[in-house]
Symmetry: C2
Subunit: 318 residues, 2 copies
């Protein structure tokens, strides 16, 4: 298993969701790294809003949800209702619904809830470890790597492991408007890990591809579809198309072994595009649109990195 | 000639650069439309900094430069030095150098400077009028149109004329980080003109192309290269590649009749990416990159709209 100290602040268990038996302390990622503030989650409803309002993002919602199940258990609340509420906070990513349903199954077959949560978290760490070993092998010495949003454990561990093998790498990080996860989560994490990295705007990846600076494109994915398309943060599609145009391979990581047939793309409020860190960027009354996820068709994907190895979608019969 | 009242605030002569014989009043586009503030340009050096620091952007620098030549003339300064200083403020777009050199030629062949400036501005209006008639003909009823940054007179007049012919159109406007010209100039202009428009982030165009919402991509261009590639605001390349992928035609407008052989891509300070409206978006010490322009190869261009008609780069022998 990987050394937990390889992980940056925002991926440490106690920063994501620290449960003291009565409430959960959660790092508020909306203002990180400008401020290190915590919110206190005292109910499943608090957790629902923390996820929906983006106080937790990028892998963290799942861990918060598992701790929230412990909280509901301590409060003797209905665990199925709690799981259902949490799963409804963001509709596109189905990992949470699947994981919480798995947790309920383990409990009903006799495992204690604390043991079940610990086992699930261990299994996730095991999956990250395996995925990042596959990811590390794809990274070559001298690579410039483009990413999108915050590609979490599997991506960051891949970089850490590649560097431990002496590979020289640098990462280009699109800021990821409107919530700026690239600027707020990925860039500070890479700096903390001592990996050379550059913030760019979401419009710049093609420029650096054309200049020959980018050799790989790697992202997380929020859902794996039955035809081996993936869903991921808005902007992933544009980068994948440009990568294909310049002959650069695109590798999304996928935590899912089973695929989702009924994907719902989350449309968030356009108002979230009209401001940045609470400051309005245009005139009042302007209209904006905010589809939160892209679907990237299988033909644009070089390989999907899973815990069981790399799936090559273009080599699979339809 | 087109009716000047078709133009939105930011393209009106007296808002761009109003000269009273002693100083030039310039709308500061960095804070527009949140605040309507003016700066006072009292020397060629003031004008140089207004252009370099992005107080004027999107077509306006040229008009400010012409008025600044009048100011230098009134102050009995060296006009060639003034032209050279202004042309050096932003290296990629060569229109200013060409236009100011044209002005100096007209003066040395006996035309009065005020008449020469008026003639040049009239010739620009004539060019906008012709280009927008070609642009208007490309727009079809029901079109969703993607643009980038602030595509100025030719684009906005094309839309106004298309609408006067009863064509139903809507425009998708990427915000254009880091300076947000899409949010600050294009979107308010379209709202002022009563044209249906939506702000999106720079990462979203491919999403709306995939959804079938975008039928045309139109932008300005900062330079026309000898091989019929164009240079334009960073982000244009990514959109042009995605448009090609989805079979959507891309039409840049070009004011230039002659092409530039020695193009210099302006790299601005990465610090301009690290903040938005003066607010830092990541931790101190982070590194960022800011290439300000893309080069879009001829194979991605469906047609270049010029005052003399549409050039089809792919039909021209290399």
């Amino acid at each position: 298993m990987f050394d937990q100290s390889l992980l940056p602040t925002v991926l440490r268990h106690d920063e994501i969701a620290f449960f003291d038996g009565k409430s959960i302390r959660v790092l508020d990622r909306r203002c990180y790294p400008l401020k290190k503030e915590y919110i206190s989650v005292k109910s499943a409803e608090d957790a629902y809003w923390a996820i929906k309002d983006m106080a937790v993002q990028g892998g963290a919602p799942l861990e918060l949800a598992l701790r929230t199940m412990l909280l509901s258990y301590e409060k003797k609340e209905d665990l199925e209702k709690c799981a259902s509420l949490l799963s409804s906070a963001r509709p596109t990513n189905k990992s949470m619904a699947n994981t919480l349903s798995d947790l309920l199954k383990r409990i009903s077959s006799g495992t204690g809830i604390y043991d079940a949560v610990d086992s699930i978290l261990d299994e996730y760490d095991e999956a990250y470890d395996r995925m990042s070993s596959y990811g590390k092998d794809l990274i070559e010495d001298g690579d410039g790597i483009l990413t999108t949003c915050f590609a979490e454990h599997s991506f960051l561990l891949s970089l850490a492991k590649a560097r431990m093998e002496g590979k020289d790498i640098r990462v280009y990080v699109p800021e990821t408007r409107p919530y700026l996860q690239g600027a707020k989560l990925t860039l500070p994490s890479l700096n903390e890990m001592g990996i050379e990295s550059y913030l760019i705007t979401d419009a710049m990846p093609a420029f650096f591809m054309r200049e020959g600076k980018i050799m790989k494109y790697m992202s997380a994915s929020d859902a794996l579809l039955p035809d081996f398309s993936v869903a991921n943060k808005i902007g992933t599609l544009s980068n994948a198309i440009c990568a294909r145009y310049y002959g650069i391979p695109y590798y999304p990581f996928s935590l899912e072994s089973s695929s989702n047939s009924n994907l719902e793309i989350e449309y968030r409020s356009g108002n979230e595009v009209l401001s940045i860190n609470g400051c309005c960027i245009t005139e009042p009354g302007a209209k904006a649109l905010y589809p939160a996820f892209d679907i990237i068709e299988r033909s644009l994907i070089s390989g999907i990195i899973t815990k069981n190895g790399i799936i090559y979608p273009n080599e699979i019969e339809k």
